[in-house]
Structure formats: C-alpha cells, structure tokens
C-alpha cells in the first residue's frame, strides 16, 4: 500500500488585526521602517504589535492517508479544515512543515469558481475542465456525460448568466465529479442543490471511493461523513483533536459540542448560562416531537429550548430569542418568546422551563438553516448566554410536484418558500373576438 498524502508538522499562519489583505506599498515601507528602527535600538521586531498579530489557521498537523482511503474531516467553522485542503492542493503555501501528495490531485473547494457568466454552458464546461486540470481529449470524451449528469442539456448553448443558481451549481459539480484524478479533495459541495441531486452526488463519491480513489471529504453533515468515510479526522483551532474510526471521532465531535447539530443537551455542570439561568437543551423537533436533522419542507418544525432558572425573577423573566440564517448567510427572520407577555412580564420562581417556537410548514426555503440563540432578560438587563449556530437543520423539498414549486422542479428562488393561496376563476367567454 502506498501513502497518498503525508503531512508532517504542517502549519499556516495568517496575519490578523490591522492587517489588510490587500496592502499598499506605503504600509510596507512604514512597517519596514519601524522594524528597522527597532532593530537599530537592539530590539527584535515585535510579534505582538498591532500590525504583527498572527493567527495559526493550521498548526502542527501530521497524518498519513493511504492510497484508496476515504477520510472525513470535521470541525466547526474556523477549525482549519478549508485551510488544510488549500495547503494540500497547493493553493496556498505552508508557513512550516511539509505535505507530500502522490498522484494527480483535484480539489473541489467551491464548485463553479471558473465559470464566466458571459460564456455558454458548453464553453464553461470546457474552460472549467481545463482549469481543474482536465486534458482537452478528456473533456471532449466526457462532455455528454457531464451535461446529462447535470441535467442541463437544453440550455447548454445559453450563457451561464441566464441559468438559475441551482443549474450553475449542478453543472459545475458535474464537471468536477468527472475528473479522473487519483486523489479527490471535497469541501461542502454536497450542501447544494435539491435532494435528488445531492443523492446523485453522494453516489458519485461512493463510486469514486469504490474505484480505489483516495478521497478527503470535508462536511458539516455528520450523516454524510458517517456514510462515506470509515476514518474521520476531527480538527479544532487548527490542530487535530482526534483521528480514528468514524464512529468514535464523530461521537467525540458531538459530545464536545464542537459541531453544529440539530440537538444539544447539557448537564447542570456544563450548562452554559449564568447564575440566573442556564440552558439545558436546544433541539430541533419534527411534527412528532422527535429530534431531527433533516426535515420535510411541508411539515411544521419546532425549535425547543429548555432551561433551568435558579433565582426568583423580580422584573422580567428569562426569554428565548432565535435568529434563523440560511446557508448563504442571509438572516431569514428572528422570533422571540417575549411575544408571550403573560410569561415574560410576570416574575416567577426557580424551576425548569421550556420554550417552543413552531415554524409552520411551507414557510422555510430548502437548504441548511442555522439557528442563533439569545437567552436574555430585559429587566434587569442581562444576556445569560448567546451562541450563533447553536443548532442547525436541513430542510428538504422533494421534487414530487406537491410543493410550492408545483410541477416545476428547477431551483426555486427566495429565502422563504411559503405556500400561498391562489385564486383562479373563469370570467366568461371572449366578447371582443366575436
């Protein structure tokens, strides 16, 4: 067995703080002058000056991946997963350590990045394929397969700017999925498109691994990681927390609260909050009251927050406010249990309380939804705890023709997808054409 990827003491440092990603010459000169002056005074240039603040996105990471292995990479946002993939694909250069990659590697960090809106689907497939490292003959040979996999045959000679986002993503993923590389790095791309297309993508990844290709797969979705990867590496703050069998590592991940899941619970010792109140659990529930990560767009969804209140409240009682963000980072709406003034405005004694927010069916759009929790009181004013991405869930819209889209199955616009009432009536025969 050959080692496909060998990583030894790999580290990547970025500058923080006042650092502008796009510097000007003046800054560099000014910085150079300051450090030269410091050196002359016999002091080393400060590492912690306002300009020199550094952060290690990846630090001291070592692992080996054997040929044919399928390895998952999990960790919360900012854990260093994407930076690690960028280092392995040569997009950015390490600050220290080394990485050895054996064989042809292709990375899908974000699909469709080479797409140009003015070019047609056909032209973009050819260009994107070339950017991803495909040979011309290879593109020609696979062209039809790529287009039919994406399901955009009729629009292939239309400029991409006329495509819906979903169509663009499908086409882009399709190009990437047909790469004949030895090693495949995949980042989060499966979180796009409708359920049917996601299934297609998963199938393609399974195929790739069964053909003996080496795959390194990054995802938020514990479910797809578990399905695809026998081995998982858990990253946090740029370093490896655990590396081993998928079941064990995913358990560590979920237990440590490092991940974003649909259900989180705490013990009285670990519960986040303050002396007034602490959160016991936050869960996403389906109609039947069962915790669920994937929910049907047509059915109501409950967000349940339970907490322990330790003191008598005099002014107002602790309240739960939830903010809902989609996977594009757009805030869709926010809601608070303060609308129940009968509970909120009335002082009450210690105990366990439960607030449930019901999101009606046929309101949310398809995709990942992230929930931010603000657990606070207004009188006396205090934020007991707040956390973005406290839970997250996936909303799925089946393409069965019963949804908001009617018989149309293409990507549907809008950050919400309410089912609205339509009235259609006949107003009688034509009079002006008689």
């Amino acid at each position: 067995m050959t080692t496909a990827i060998r990583v030894q003491g790999l580290g990547k440092r970025f500058r923080l703080g006042e650092y502008e990603p796009y510097g000007t010459l003046r800054d560099t000169i000014a910085r150079g002058a300051t450090s030269a002056a410091r050196r002359m005074r016999g002091r080393a240039p400060s590492e912690n000056g306002k300009r020199g603040k550094h952060v290690w996105a990846v630090k001291d990471v070592s692992f080996d991946i054997e040929e044919g292995e399928v390895v998952g990479l999990i960790g919360r946002n900012g854990a260093g997963k994407t930076t690690l993939l960028k280092l392995l694909s040569g997009i950015t250069e390490p600050t220290e350590g080394r990485a050895e990659v054996r064989g042809l590697l292709s990375s899908l960090l974000e699909v469709g990045t080479g797409f140009h809106p003015e070019l047609t689907g056909r032209e973009n497939v050819q260009l994107n394929g070339a950017i991803l490292g495909m040979r011309r003959a290879e593109i020609r040979r696979k062209f039809d397969e790529i287009v039919s996999f994406a399901g955009v045959e009729e629009f292939i000679d239309t400029p991409i700017k006329r495509y819906s986002t979903g169509m663009q993503v499908r086409l882009a993923f399709s190009v990437a999925a047909h790469l004949e590389s030895d090693i495949l790095l995949v980042d989060e791309v499966l979180a796009v498109g409708d359920l049917e297309f996601q299934r297609k993508c998963m199938g393609r990844m399974e195929e790739a691994s069964s053909m003996g290709r080496t795959v390194l797969f990054v995802s938020h979705s514990v479910a797809s990681i578990m399905r695809l990867c026998p081995r998982v590496i858990l990253l946090d703050k740029g370093g490896i927390v655990r590396d081993g069998a998928a079941g064990d590592v995913v358990k560590t991940y979920l237990d440590s609260g490092l991940g974003t899941t649909a259900s989180r619970e705490w013990t009285p010792d670990t519960a986040p909050g303050d002396e007034v109140a602490r959160i016991k659990s936050v869960r996403v529930l389906d109609e039947n009251g069962d915790a669920a990560e994937e929910l049907d767009i047509h059915r109501p969804i409950d967000i349940e927050v339970t907490y322990w209140q330790y003191t008598d409240t005099t002014g107002t009682s602790p309240s739960v406010t939830l903010k809902f963000t989609n996977d594009a980072g757009a805030v869709m709406f926010a809601s608070t249990d303060m609308v129940r003034s009968d509970w909120y405005a009335n002082p009450r004694g210690p105990g366990e309380y439960r607030s449930v927010c019901r999101i009606p069916g046929n309101l949310l759009s398809e995709g990942q939804v992230f929930v931010e929790l603000i657990f606070a009181s207004t009188n006396p004013a205090a934020i007991h705890w707040m956390e973005s991405d406290v839970v997250a869930f996936q909303v799925n819209d089946a393409t069965t023709g019963e949804g908001v889209r009617g018989p149309l199955v293409f990507d549907w616009p809008g950050i919400v997808r309410p089912m609205l009432d339509w009235t259609i009536e006949s107003k009688g025969p034509l009079h002006h054409r008689e």
């Binding site: 796009y22 050895e100 990659v101 003015e118």
Partner: protein
C-alpha cells in the same frame, strides 16, 4: 466563430491518461515553505500549456461581449490616435517622418504600442480580477498574465487591416525588410509578457500598482519612438534610450515595414537583452510570490 473547442485549431498536445489504481509509480508533489532559488517554473508552463490556450480563448471570447461594434474597437483605438497625432504633431509641431505619409508613420508605431499597453494593463489586473479562482483552485497562476499577451495578439491582427488599407490608399509599398517583421512582433510579445508578469504579481501585493500602471504607460509613450523617430534623440543618449525594449520594437517595426528609421543594429541588441532580462526576472519574481498570492489578492 464556432464555440466548440474540440474543433480548435491550436494543437496543444492533448494527452489522455487512464486512471492509475496504483499510486506507487505516480509522481509526488511536495509542499513546503518556499525558500532560496525557485527557478523560472518553465516546466509547469509547459505542463499546463492547454490551460494557457483556454485562458487566451476565454479572454478573446469575453473581451467585446455586449459591445456595439465589438472587435471594431481594436481598429478604432489606434485609428483615432493616429488621426490626432497626424493633425497635432504633423500640422502643429511638424515632426519629420522620413518621407512617408504621416498616417502610416504614426499607425505603424501605434500598432505595436497599442498591443503593448493593452497587454500590460489587462495583465496587471489579471490576478486581482481572478480572486475567486485563485483562492479556490490550484493552477500555475502565471497563465493568467501570459494569456493576455496572447489574446491581445488577436486585436493586434485585426488592427492590421487598417494598416493595409492605409498603405494601399497612400500607395506605400512595403520593403523587403518586412520579412523581419515577425521578429519584432515576437519581441513585443516578450516585452509585454515581462512587464505584465512584474506588474500582475506586484499588483496582487500592492494596490499602488493599479494607479502606477496607466501613468507609466502614458509616460512610456514619450520615451518610445511613437510620435517621433529615434534619430531625433541625441546620439550620446541612444544606448540608454534603447534599453527601453519597446523603443527597439517600435523603431524596428516601422523600419521593417517602411524602411524609415534606424535599421536593426547594436542598439536592438540592447532592447532584446533588456526584454529577455525583464521576462525571465518576471517569471522568477512571479514564482517567488505565487505561494502567497492566494492569501493576498
């Protein structure tokens, strides 16, 4: 133009490799901090030559999308400059043109000069503009600035049509020296690539370059024999004057076409030498900064 690339005329040596199931014989790539001599990266340019062709083709395709007169711009720009020069420098300043009609004198210089400026200005923005691509996919970034040197050749070729019309109209026959013309076009490509490599890499790091490039290009026209002949430069200064590679290109281009100006000689060697020094140092500098470009753009 048919959009199907598979029927393209440029043969880029399509290689078609089967999937390897055994990696033991596969080449290994090593990533580590870049230190010391990094070379020019010519082998990478060769390995990715198909991509260079694709980028060039893309530049040409999108250049005049949604414009009214499209590729007509390639002719109009030098044409109107030529008219302005003819009226201004001909009538007012009365600069000698060596006996050929003024429009041809100016247009023959504007052809390589326009090629140079459009290549350098688009190449210097090429990295900053492809930010999304650079931070998400690996490919030799050097292909971006280089591709503009090739795609601008398309405009250059179109602009030739007007030169032919002018020569027929004024009854100016090309001299035999026209056989040397391709060499000067090639020198223009090398010069534009060299400056483009430097300015694109610097522009990815320092925003100042964006403001400096248009100014330097304007300035460059006055230190190149576009509106005058190099013979008007004092003899003692000429060796220095011709260290500007575009001085050699323009003087040579006009001479090869019309016989006006200095025939190639020692001074041309200066231009050629500087052009190649700038080109190879540009490749080296680009390669040196390549690893951090994705962090900076």
């Amino acid at each position: 133009m048919r959009s199907d690339l598979s029927e393209g005329t440029l043969d880029s040596g399509g290689r078609d490799e089967p999937i390897r199931h055994d990696l033991s014989s596969a080449p290994t790539r090593v990533y580590r901090p870049r230190k010391g001599w990094v070379g020019f990266g010519l082998s990478q340019v060769l390995a990715y030559r198909e991509l260079l062709f694709f980028f060039t083709w893309r530049n040409i395709k999108i250049r005049y999308k949604q414009t009214l007169i499209g590729a007509g711009w390639a002719v109009l720009q030098p044409f109107f400059m030529m008219i302005a020069f003819t009226l201004l420098f001909g009538r007012v300043a009365n600069i000698p043109t060596g006996g050929i009609p003024r429009p041809i004198f100016y247009y023959a210089a504007l052809l390589p000069w326009t090629y140079f400026t459009s290549t350098v200005s688009s190449a210097s923005e090429s990295l900053a503009q492809s930010q999304a691509l650079i931070t998400k996919v690996y490919f030799p970034r050097v292909m971006l600035p280089l591709s503009f040197a090739l795609s601008s050749l398309m405009d250059h070729t179109i602009a030739w049509v007007m030169l032919v019309i002018l020569m027929v109209y004024f009854g100016v026959a090309p001299t035999l020296t026209i056989a040397l013309l391709p060499a000067f076009v090639a020198l223009a490509v090398v010069s534009a690539m060299g400056i483009g490599l430097w300015s694109s890499a610097l522009n990815a790091i320092y925003r100042d370059v964006r403001y400096a490039v248009p100014f330097l290009l304007q300035f460059g026209m006055f230190v190149s024999p576009v509106i005058y002949q190099s013979s008007q430069i004092p003899e003692a200064w000429r060796p220095i004057y011709f260290l500007n590679p575009m001085a050699g290109v323009i003087e040579g281009f006009r001479w090869a076409l019309t016989g006006v100006g200095q025939p190639p000689g020692l001074h041309t060697i200066g231009s050629v030498a500087v052009a190649f020094i700038v080109f190879f140092s540009g490749l080296w500098f680009f390669r040196r900064t390549e690893g951090i470009i994705a962090d900076l753009v």
